[in-house]
Structure formats: C-alpha cells, structure tokens
Symmetry: C2
C-alpha cells in the first residue's frame, strides 16, 4: 500500500520511546517502540534550529493562513500545499465577557475547537494523519473509535480522496455513526466490546496494509493536536495564560497540548509553559486517581455521560501524566451534574455550545478554584474540545425547557416566562 | 427599551420600499414601509462613495480580520470594535476536488457556511441584528422561528449579553430547542401553528419593546447575509464564478446573496454579478412555481424534509425574485430523494456535512445541468447553508449503514465491506 519512498524531514531528529527512553532514527512506518511493543508510544524529537529557519513570531504575523497549517513547520510532515485540506484549526480564542466573572477569575479565555470542520479538536490529529498517509502513498486510513476521532478521520480522509475504514463497537450512538457514514466511510460495527473492536481493527490494518490512525499507536496524532497550543499562544500574542484547562480521556489531547507549548518554549517563542489542568469526570477518572505523582493507572469503570472522555484504560498515559507534572499543573475530577451545568453555563454566559466532554474543562475551573488549585488572580485558557450539536440528548438534560403558552398575551404573561 | 440616540451612518442614504418604491430617510426603528405595512419590506440604500473611503480590494488584502466584520464598512451599523462578537463568517470556500467532476462541471467551489458558530449562515444576520440592538440600546432581542434563525439569535445574543425571547410552534424539533435553551434563551412554545407563533411574537415584541429579529420584517437581516457574497468574491480574488447556487425558503438569504454582489458591482470591485440559481424542494416550491417572470406567489404546502426551507408563504418575495431575475439566474426544484442523495454525495466526495437545506443547492446543480440551465463549461459556487449535525435523523436516512461483523478477520471478509 505504500511506496516506501519516505520524505526526508530535516527538522525531525528521530523518535524516543516514552517507556524505555531509547532513541531511534525517524521512520514513518515505525509506529511504536520495537522493544516495548504497542505500549511503547513514541515521542518525535525535533531539531529546533531547523524549524527556526522556516517560522518565527514575525513570519507568523505576516501569514494569512487561516488554519492549523500556518504551523506546518512544527509538524512531522513533508512541506506541501495544504490548501486543499479541510480548514482545520485557527479556531477562535474568545476573551470571556461574563463567564470569568461568574467563576471569580481575573481573566479567562475560551478556545472553541468545536468550530472545526467535523466539530471537534480531533480534526487536528486526523488532518496530520491524512497528510502523512498521502505522503507515504497509502490509499486507505483506518481507526477504531466510537466518536469524534472516527468522524474526523472519515471527513478529513474524504476531502483528500482517501478511503476510510472505521471500526465501532455495536453500541456506538447513531448520531456519530451518521456523520462517518455521510463521509463515505466503510463502517464495521463489531459484535463485541471496545477491546474486540480495537483488536479486529489492528488485525485488519496489519493484514490489509492501511494507514493506522489509532491515536495511542501513531505518534503523529499528538503532533497534530499540539497545534491548538500554538494557536492559543499566538492568539495571546505569545503571552500564554497561567493555566490551560481541558478535559482528559485517552490522554492524547492533553499530551499534545503540552507538546505545543514545549516546542514554543524550546524555540524561544514563549517564556514559560502554562500549568495544565487535566479534568476528568468522577465517573471515570483514572488519571485523577493516579495524581500528580504519576502513579500507575488502575483500570476504571466508564461511568460518565461525557462519552468522549469515558476511557477506563487510557493509552497515552505517559504523555498525559508528563503534560500535567512537567507543566506544574494539577488533576481534578468533576461529577457529571457539574458537567451538565457547565454546558448551560458556557452557553448562557458566552454563546458557546460544547458537548459534555467539551465543557468538562469549564466545570474543572470551578472545582479547581474551590480547591485553591487555581487562584482568583490567575489567568486561564479553557479549551472546548467538541461541539454540543454532537450530543443533543445531554444538551436537553442540561438546558432546562421551554414554556408552553396559548397564542395570546394574557397566556404569555401567565406563563411566567417574562418574569 | 431604547435610548433613541441613533448613530449617524454617513454611508446609509435611506430606505426604499420593495413594494411601492417610495424612499424614506434612514431610521433604525422603522422596520417596514409606513404605507405598505408589514409586507412593505425595505431595502437599505448606500452611498458607495462613502463606503469607498473605508474599504477597497487593497485594504482587504492587508486585513487579518478573520470574520464577516472585515466587511463592516458595507453594513448599516455604526463602527465599533466587533472583536468581542462570536466569530461569524470568513468560512472556508473550498475548490471542489471531486464533486465537480462527478457532476460534470468545469469548476466548482463550495462555501461551507455550516462552520459558523451556531452552525448556519443565519449567524450572519443574527450578528448584525445583535449589533444593531446594542447600538440602539435594547437589552432584549426576539424572533419567531423553529430553527437556525432562532438558535443563531440566541447564541449571538448570549455572547454579547443580550437577553433573547424565542417563539416556537409546539411542534419544534427537540434538537433545535436544545441549542437555543443552552444559549439561555427564554423559549415560548406556542400552542398553535406557525402563524399563531408569529402573531404572538409580534404582539409581544410590540408590547415589551424588544428588538425584532424577524428576517421578513427587519431589513438589516439581508444586509448581514450579504457578507457571504462579499467573502465568496474576495476568496475568488474578485472573479466570481458564472453561477452562485443556494437553497431558498423564506427568500431572505438569496436576497442577501444578491445584495452582496450588487454592492461590490456598484463599488467597482467586481465586473459582473454572478447568475443566481435558487433551489427549492419539489415538496415546497412557491418561488420555482412563480418562475423567472416573478409571478405572484401561491400559498404552497410545506411537504419537504428540508425543514429550513419548508416555507409555504415566504416573506421576502421581492428580494428573492429580484435576486434571480436581475442576476439573469434561474429557479429549479429537486425532489427530497435528490436532497438526501446530495447529503451523501457532498460528504463522500468532499468531506463536507450539510443539513438537507444545506445541500439542496448541490442537488440543484445536478438538476440545472440536466435541464441545460448550467452549462458544463461554466463555473459554479454552491453555498452550504447549514451543518448536517443539526439533522441526524435525515443524515441516517441518507447515509446508508454500517456492516456488522464478528470480531475476527474471516467474519470481516465475509461481511463484504472490503469489496
């Protein structure tokens, strides 16, 4: 399936295994550590002097590129014209107008990544995966997922003319299936649980030689996600807030968020890495339970309505724990009721509609303030990772309800809605 | 509710009634023609020499404003800092990579307005309405709608701290209700049909002095929508395609699309106005039935699954008919099956997910090619007016289905999905 003609990437020094810390030369076909196996997730090492040849604060200030591809110099990809891709990234960073005050924060910014083309931050990873698959000559990309990763994989692949094969457990919700199917993905509904689904995807990917978009396996995925941090930093004029807050499920996204700030710090483009607050639901909180001491994770029940972060056995453990520990950050858990309340709070105060996992960061700020983790005079950026339109059922549970009225003014006044 | 201190708008010459053609001085509180009443929808007249003082092709080329507000000089608003608003507009214009070929077109562009903050083109109108309400000192904005207009009104109002009161008929779909309610709108579910709902909203708006966002009543709404054309023209380097294609329901959007090109033509920024193809469902096609001769509209049944254009009694008749007639365009109707097929076609070929009304334009291109209205060597821009995430039910009907497989390779191969 691949032409084996790998591009030379002068800015990529190689790989380092997150478990055994061995370094390896860069090989795009090598997805995990040959010694540690599938759990040996790799970091990509960069030559920042090489990156510096192609990008700077000044060059970006002149750059009208209206997507994550303004940061292509930071990505493990061959240079190419990325304008045909879906317009992923360069999502708005809003200064809070009311939510910060309600929470009792000095300054709050909200990064709305639900405005990506398939409506989640996962588009950033899928875009890089699709680019890498094209670079290597694949014609098919595959992943195993029930949600945003799968639909973003399908959408970004469809745009660039790649086929996609998506493995979902048979309990996958209809709304998420619809999106993938509209994008023309071949969707395999696996009779079994999530592990069965993942295992079948792995066997099929190996047998048929498809490109592997599973985020725990392929290190380019965190690289794509790091662009959200590059954007936050640039949108804040290279003065990031004290904290950056987001929900955590598998660990890939929070790992990427740290890597973006890490790269900028190494480049001398920011003076410090913000503290990262990782937020989980109390219904599924293996990272919070393991704490800042990075204890080994314990397999956890998946008992939260925030489906995108309902991950009892996360795969990107090292990247996630490192993100919080090395940034001087913290972990907090919030109950599902607080997540639903945050959906409504964010919508009412700022006009931003997030799915449950998308607003879990917002709920986490409240908890972190109450616990004294975030101080009221600190500045905070919260990332909304996915759009509320993905989960109408929980939105209705969060939203309250309309008031019925007969069609006359007396009835309207009697309804109480004007009080 | 209003401070009556209207801003002086040097670039606005006044109003002209679309029915009786009388001209009136500009008064933001005057929404319809005093002689013709509610049906006397107004055009806003501009002094293009004044606009020219503030904007040009060259000034725009230097402008990094990443939203519709890059065109604020073209809008009937006082100048202000629009950066606190939701980031409406400057949505991607994709060059088609495969759909154009499949349809047999020389060149096709796709404007994805489903990537607006509340996921539809209606955000453009709501943003201007909210800005005007703020300018006039209102604290509450109101409209009557079942869909995208209402949720965009609620979202844009919430962001800027305005209250919103939304009137919906009791049959309004839950998914659309959820979005408005999350934005903190007071939602009145009116026991009655759409006319009862509209009438109650009108009475309440008058009695309580709220700002009126009903698109048929308030002429700033088409002005907001025209920004989609300004973007298309700029994104095509001021060389618009031969045709611009979109779905038509109430007529406000297509009216605005024409006005945007009209303004640019008056300004000398484009050399010609593209032909506009207005597309409706055969299940509800009053404009198509009236044809290019602009015959009076006949009340029509509302029998289409494309709910956003299911309008049997459109309000913006003159603006819509003028858009098609004066641009040298055409009207076509497509059956609902073709609309569903277009959902899938657009997703599969381009990775773009539109709601039924959002892809009706795409279905219309096919019909117009078959009828010889659009020639294969002509260039076309199609506008996707709303996001498919708004309508999972129809997406599932359009999308086909997944294939079940037991978790082993033999079963996967037997499933046929790999053929």
């Amino acid at each position: 399936m691949t032409n084996k003609q790998q591009a030379v990437l002068p800015h990529v020094r190689g790989y380092k295994c997150t478990l055994c810390h061995q370094e390896f030369p860069y090989d795009a076909e090598m997805l995990t550590c040959p010694d540690c196996g599938e759990k040996g997730i790799l970091d990509i090492l960069y030559d920042y002097d090489e990156i510096r040849k192609n990008v700077s604060r000044e060059s970006l200030a002149q750059d009208h590129t209206n997507s994550m591809w303004r940061y292509k110099a930071f990505l493990p990809l061959q240079d190419r014209d990325f304008s045909p891709f879906l317009r992923v990234g360069w999502t708005p960073l809003y200064e809070s107008l009311r939510l910060g005050d309600e929470l009792g924060l000095k300054k709050l910014y909200i990064k709305d990544d639900g405005l990506n083309p398939t409506a989640s931050l996962k588009d950033r990873a899928s875009a890089v995966a699709v680019a890498k698959a094209i670079e290597l000559g694949y014609d098919t990309i595959s992943c195993s997922s029930t949600g945003n990763a799968a639909s973003s994989c399908a959408g970004n692949a469809a745009r660039m003319g790649l086929k996609s094969v998506i493995f979902v457990p048979e309990r996958a919700p209809e709304g998420k299936l619809a999106q993938m199917l509209i994008f023309g993905a071949r969707v395999v509904s696996v009779i079994g649980n999530y592990k069965d689904t993942f295992d079948l995807s792995k066997m099929a990917i190996e047998k048929y030689g498809w490109f592997n978009r599973n985020a725990g396996i392929n290190p380019v995925m965190t690289e794509g996600k790091k662009t959200v941090s590059l954007e936050i930093a640039e949108q804040l004029n290279w003065q990031p807030t004290d904290w950056v807050v987001l929900s955590v499920g598998d660990g890939c996204t929070v790992g990427g968020v740290y890597l973006g700030f890490y790269d900028l710090f190494q480049m001398g483009m920011i003076d410090r890495i913000p503290k990262i607050l990782g937020v989980q639901s109390t219904g599924c909180s293996p990272f919070v339970d393991a704490g800042c001491e990075c204890k080994p994770l314990v397999v956890t029940e998946e008992n939260t309505l925030a489906d995108s972060i309902s991950v009892g056995v996360p795969r990107n453990v090292v990247k996630a724990q490192r993100a919080v520990a090395e940034s001087g950050g913290q972990w907090v858990a919030v109950p599902d009721e607080e997540i639903l309340a945050a959906m409504s709070l964010l919508g009412r105060t700022e006009g931003i509609y997030g799915e449950p996992a998308g607003v879990t960061g917002t709920a986490g700020i409240k908890a972190a303030l109450a616990q004294g983790i975030i101080k009221p005079d600190e500045t905070v950026t919260v990332i909304v990772t996915g759009n509320g339109l993905k989960d109408t059922k929980n939105a209705l549970a969060a939203a309250g309800s309309s008031v019925k009225s007969k069609p006359n003014l007396e009835a309207l006044e009697a309804s109480g809605i004007l009080d």
